[in-house]
Symmetry: C2
Subunit: 244 residues, 2 copies
Amino acid sequence: MAPMLPRPDLAQVKAILFDTFGSVVDWRGSLIADLSAWAATRGISGDWAGLVDAWRAAYAPSMDRVRRGELPWTILDDLHRATLERLLAQFGITGLLEADQDHINRGWHRLNPWPDAVAGLTRLRSRYIIGPLSNGNVALLVNMAKRAGLPWDMVCSTELFGHYKPDPETYLGAARILGLQPGEVMMAAAHNNDLHAARRCGLRTAFWPRPTEYGPLQVRDFAADSDWDIVAADIEDMAAQLGL
Amino acid sequence: MAPMLPRPDLAQVKAILFDTFGSVVDWRGSLIADLSAWAATRGISGDWAGLVDAWRAAYAPSMDRVRRGELPWTILDDLHRATLERLLAQFGITGLLEADQDHINRGWHRLNPWPDAVAGLTRLRSRYIIGPLSNGNVALLVNMAKRAGLPWDMVCSTELFGHYKPDPETYLGAARILGLQPGEVMMAAAHNNDLHAARRCGLRTAFWPRPTEYGPLQVRDFAADSDWDIVAADIEDMAAQLGL
C-alpha cells in the first residue's frame, strides 16, 4: 500500500503552476544589482533602484491597458520596453544606444531565484508536473529558467492565451493544455490576488510570503489573507508540507 | 578568445526544436510493447502490432482533415482517440471499458526515447535552448518528457498555434514565442518533409535517420534527401558535429 500522503485532500493535484516575478525570482534585488553593475562598467550614472521601482510600478497599469482592450495583445517584453523609454527620460539617463536599452530590458530575463526556490521546485518536481504560469512572455521565461536553473517540466506563459493574469482565460487555459481539470491544478504564489483569481476558476492554491519583494515599498502580501490550501514559509516548506 | 566553433556557419543558432514521434522517441516499438504487455495482464487478445501500424497510418490523414478545415482545431489526443475506436472495431477487439480505451490512447504519452536521445539532448542543452516542435498536444509532450527524462527547456506543441506541421504557422510561431528570428532556430528531425517545410520558413535544419521507425513498413527517410545543415547518424552525433 502506498504511504498515506500528508494531505489526502490534495490527492487530486497533478500539476503545480507558479507565479514567477516575486514568488520564485527576486526581480527587485536582481535588477538593481544587475543594472548597477552594468552601468558602473559603462560609466553611466543613474538612480537604478528608483528606476527599477518605477518600472515595476508601471507593470500592472500597462497590463491593465491590454486587459481593458486599450492596447492589442502586447507581450511583456514590449510593455517593459515602452515603459523603460519613458523612465530613462524621466530619470535623466541619456546617451544610451539601442543595444543598451535592449540589454537593460532583458534584465527581466536575468532574474535570480530566491534561495529556497530551486531546491523546493526540485523536490516538488519529483511528484508533480511543475511550470510557471507567469505574465512574462515565453522567451523571457525560457531564458530566465535556463540561466537560473529552474527545473520546469514546461513553460506556461499567459502569452499562450493572449490574456494577462488575473483573467480567468489564463488559469483555465493552463489546465486545458495540460489535459487536466481545474481542481487537478494548484496555483502557487506569494501574491494573494493571484490566488483569489485562481480559486475562482476552481484551482487549488498555495501561498508563501516574500516580505522583501518590494523592499521598503512593500505594502501587502506579508501574510495569507485567506484559507489557501497550503500556507508555507517558502517553497521548500511547501514541499515539506506535501511530504516531499 | 572563445574557441572556434566547428560550424561557424551555424553560429547564429540559439534554439533547436525537435520533431518527436519517430525522431526522438520510438513510437512503434514502445506502443507494441506497452499495449501487448497490458493486454496480456488483462487477458485481452489482439493484433497489437497491426493496430499500432494502422493507428499511425491514420495519423497524417487525420491531421490533414484539420489542416484542410474539414475539422475544427482538434488536439492529437482526440484525433488518436477517434481513430482508435474505429480500429478496435476493425481489429475485433471488444469488451473494453471507457477507462481501457483511455489507457490505450495515452500509450502515446508513454513512448520511450531512442537510445541516443537523452544523452544527445543533454549535450545540446548545454549550449542551446532545446524543445520539441511536435504535433503532439502539450499534455502528451509534457507527460512523455517527464516519464522519459527528455531534458527540454520548454515544450512547444503545434497546439499552441492551432495548426499542424507542416503548416508554416508552426515553425514561424515557435520562433516568434522564443523571441528569435527564423534563422536563429534549427529544426531537427528524422523526416525530410518536416525539414523541407522548416527550411521554406527560414529555419536551419538537422537530419538523422531512424531506419527502423516504421519496422518492416518503412519506405522513406532512410537518408537525407537534401543538403541539410547537419546530417548526422543520430542525436549524439549531431551534438558531436556541433562540438559538444
